[in-house]
């Protein structure tokens, strides 16, 4: 038994059992998932997501030199720290009014592409797929494994495994072929990252104004050679993943409901176009659209906006279940943005973090160090609990719908994303097509992940071409000098591996007056907000059916674990540095037991 259980009486006919998973493993950071399960009806009825670690970045960054920001914020996270460093540099570039030479932006794009390839690979194959490996499936769904043994893998010719069970065996931790190969690939891709950003995961060669990377042809050749060595693995992996996920849909009818929630996705865009971006807030909408992953907010399949200015102004940080006092009556740092638009007090520019350690109250009070970021939709006037689908789902979806990206290796067609990987020694040229799926659910979050590895690899090929073009043309400058202003304002928008990432910076008297990073996990892992709206993990798990064959006695909660891990939780990002509020404004007991679930 992987969890604690306790019976609870509820004012309905249903017998609910508390099933708690704390700590959640095979993720980054500290996460607990507390659920109430109706075993008779095979349904998870309630879910609460908590994190019990706080560090306080926005507190201790105050008063420091703004140029230290990217070095410090990188330490927010041990798996995507470089995303923070890059995002911080984008914010600093804006605040200092500096535009790096084009080659610097290509180098940063190459470093970040390698980070995506590394992180998604190690997470998918060494963490997520342990939930799909032979050993785990044997323990949770022996019937399913028997069927997998006799089910031929439809894409066996591509990846070399005959049956679905053969693939599952290759996922077994430390012993399976795919598991071990993924560790190797995660090293090659990290070497690629080191070539561009110095080291992993906290970069050494990134600076506001550019990079310190020595841009010789060698650095690009060393990168390209390694990149090509990954392509066979990626082509195999996409085919293998498709086989496994299609098998689940086929073998377990209704599995699409696992982890399903309304399509409310956010993507802040990434990979700057150096010939378009000037890092000025006033032009952010335009250069945002030129990024090589398009920004966008998607609600129910429609693109609500792709304008980073609108995205910025809609951000709201709510409390409701978090261990912080409110900042409603604290200082307002930014009343209007550089375009003259009003900025809300609950916007990250105006946030003040007031940690208030307290006991955990899962039933009626505060239960997490994570705050509740929401996006205020001017259309519906709702505070939307956007998620990132783990990152890849939202990125591919937003890029597909935007239809703007057009490069030799990756094209967005409006309804799909087309990715072309060139021939390599073991495999022919391959064109992959990703289309928005019918559901935003657990399997589609996972499926998108390996497609995005292919996306990042294909895009990296383009960036190598462009970087080398600069080097061969003699344009080897990688840094532009700048001065730190006495008063300044910056925002960085980037896609971390797990999705949306923003850094909001306010400078006064040449020092950091306010700094608030918002990575993807606070969005995904947030607890119930002041309006009672559950965070995305909670929402996705709540109401999901249970397919595990184990009964209550030896329940492992595998379907719940698959859903939580599909979001690629990263709690150092999610929780710890977030500022919070905590005055208990509203307690939302949110006993959703039957009422919130249609049909109950």
């Amino acid at each position: 038994m992987a969890q604690t259980q306790r019976e609870v009486s509820v004012p309905t006919q249903r017998e609910l059992v508390e099933v708690n998973f704390d700590p959640i493993t095979r993720i980054i950071g500290n996460l607990g998932i507390y659920t109430k399960v109706d075993f008779a009806n095979n349904e998870v009825v309630e879910c609460k997501s908590t994190s019990s670690l706080f560090r306080g970045y926005s507190v201790f960054m105050k008063g420091k030199d703004p140029r230290d920001s990217h070095f410090i914020t990188s330490r927010i996270c041990g798996i995507c720290g470089d995303n923070h460093a890059v995002c911080s540099i984008y914010a600093q570039n804006m605040a200092y009014g500096v535009k790096p030479p084009p080659l610097a932006d290509w180098i940063i794009n190459l470093g970040e592409a390698a980070e995506f390839m590394f992180d998604h690979t190690i997470f998918q194959d060494n963490m997520v797929f342990v939930d799909f490996c032979e050993r785990m499936v044997a323990e949770t769904n022996p019937g399913l494994l028997r069927r997998a043994e006799t089910t031929d893998a439809p894409r066996g010719e591509l990846h070399g495994y005959r049956t679905i069970a053969d693939i599952m065996r290759a996922f077994n931790p430390f012993e399976g072929e795919v598991y071990k190969k993924a560790l190797e690939v995660s090293r090659i891709t990290r070497e690629m990252c080191c070539l561009m950003e110095g080291r992993h995961v906290h970069p050494s060669t990134l600076y506001p104004g550019g990079v310190g990377t020595v841009a010789t042809p060698q650095v690009f050749t060393d990168y390209l050679s390694r990149l090509m060595r990954c392509l066979d693995f990626i082509k195999h992996a996409v085919a293998m993943n498709d086989d496994v996920f299609d098998f689940f849909y086929d073998a377990l009818p209704g599995y699409e409901e696992v982890g399903r929630r309304r399509v409310m996705l956010g993507c802040w865009g990434c990979f700057q176009d150096p010939y378009s971006v000037d890092y000025r807030y006033e032009n952010m909408g335009a250069w945002g659209r030129d990024m090589f992953v398009s920004p966008g907010i998607i609600v129910d399949g429609d693109l609500v906006t792709n304008n980073l200015v609108d995205i910025n102004l809609g951000m709201r940080i709510l409390l409701g279940s978090s261990y912080y006092d409110d900042w409603a009556n604290e200082q307002t740092f930014v009343t209007r943005d550089p375009l003259g638009n009003p900025v809300d007090q609950r916007h990250p520019w105006n946030q003040t973090t007031l940690p208030a350690p307290q006991g955990r109250d899962l039933e009626n009070g505060n239960y997490s160090w994570v705050m509740s970021p929401r996006w205020f939709d001017p259309g519906s006037q709702e505070h939307l609990a956007l998620d990132t689908g783990g990152g890849p789902l939202a990125r591919l979806w937003a890029t597909a719908l935007n239809g703007l990206v057009d490069t030799p290796y990756v094209k967005a067609t409006g309804g799909a994303v087309r990715i072309t990987l060139p021939a390599t020694p073991q495999t022919k040229e391959m064109t992959l097509q990703w289309r928005p799926p019918r559901f935003a659910n657990t399997l589609e979050r996972d499926r998108a992940r390996m497609y995005f590895v292919a996306y990042a690899a294909a895009m990296a090929l383009h960036f190598v071409d462009k970087g080398l073009e600069e080097v061969r043309g003699g344009n080897t400058k990688v840094f532009t000098d700048f001065d730190v202003p006495d008063e300044g304002l910056g925002v960085g928008f980037h896609e971390a591996v797990r999705g949306v990432l923003s850094h909001h910076l306010v400078i006064r008297d040449g020092k950091i007056a306010n700094y608030h990073p918002y990575p993807p996990t606070p969005w995904n892992a947030s607890p119930r907000d002041v309006y009672g709206t559950p965070g995305p993990y909670e929402d996705a798990v709540q109401g999901q059916p249970i397919f595990e064959e184990n009964g209550r006695e030896d329940f492992k909660g595998i379907d719940i674990m698959r859903t939580v891990r599909s979001f690629d939780p990263c709690l150092p990002c999610g929780v710890h540095m977030y500022l919070g509020e905590g005055k208990v404004l509203n307690k939302i007991a949110s006993p959703t037991f039957g009422a919130a679930h249609p049909g109950e």
Partner: protein, 350 residues
Amino acid sequence: MSTEATETGVDEIHILWTSEGMSCDGDTVSVTAASLPSIEDVVLQAVPGIPKVHLHNKVLAYETGDDFLAPFHRAAQGDLGAPFIFVVEGSIPNENIHTGDGYWTAMGNDPETGKPKTLNKWIDELAPKAWAVVAIGTCATYGGIHAMAGNPTGCMGLVDYLGDDFRSAGGLPVVNVPGCPVQPDNFMETLLWVLHQAAGLAPTIPLDEQLRPTWLFGKTVHEGCDRAAYYEQADFAYDYNSPKCQVKIGCWGPVVNCNVTKRGWMDGIGGCPNVGGICIGCTMPGFPDKFMPFMDEPPGGSLSSALLSVYGPFVRRMRSITNKSANTEPQWRHPGPKLTTGYQPRYPRV
């Protein structure tokens, strides 16, 4: 530290690894990048002589929730059945500065109360019972970035928390492997020594006064930096475009104990000032406060570079003359009708 041989002969050992300190899990992630040896080399016993290792690390564990915590609880009760190495990642918060049920960080729940079990309580229970205690990363060793001035948690390094006189059940002080994050192979090599020591195959691990392995942290960044020759010749970078010595634009390498410039980051690739990234002193007890603002010239750098400005340019000029000569082939390499190498031929015979 002395280096007398140990008498233990452990053939099976657990590694109980918590990253629930003030941490980013970056050291765990970093260790998966190691190849000399790799984590799977150790788990699969691909290195001769090491005990069978049971790794309990949150990021890699098969089990979750209570199943994952079970060996931690058993160890706390002295009931694990084999010795264990306690690896702590992240700095230790001060839980004495607030009251009530609040906490800065916890790992799972206390089975008796159902309340979050703080990291500090885990350390109190596990550290004295551990055969060895290893602090991984600058946070766990000395406090690190989260112990920066102005921080709300009052966090600290493991020795600050346990006290200077702490000794593990195996008789060792805390073994510190600093770095932000830890250099992958540095940690795996340290772990390998401790495992060999536990197996009775190695003497006590040699540590310096800051409890770092001496063979890894005995030299400075500068002593291993391939840009040090620019320094000697007083040839400095004045912005980040330059491949020269970065001491005037923020590099603290001359006073920082770290081997990354010499060793590279992964398998020889990457690094810090050797590849254009200023050293910010991330392996040091004084990190980060004593090195900020990072992009300013270290105060000591201006003095030493001023001294160098006297002879550095002269040395550089003389070397450039010699270099010009070294770049010119000797005159006897030619296709002419006469041999001019100095050899006296005996042909043609007359």
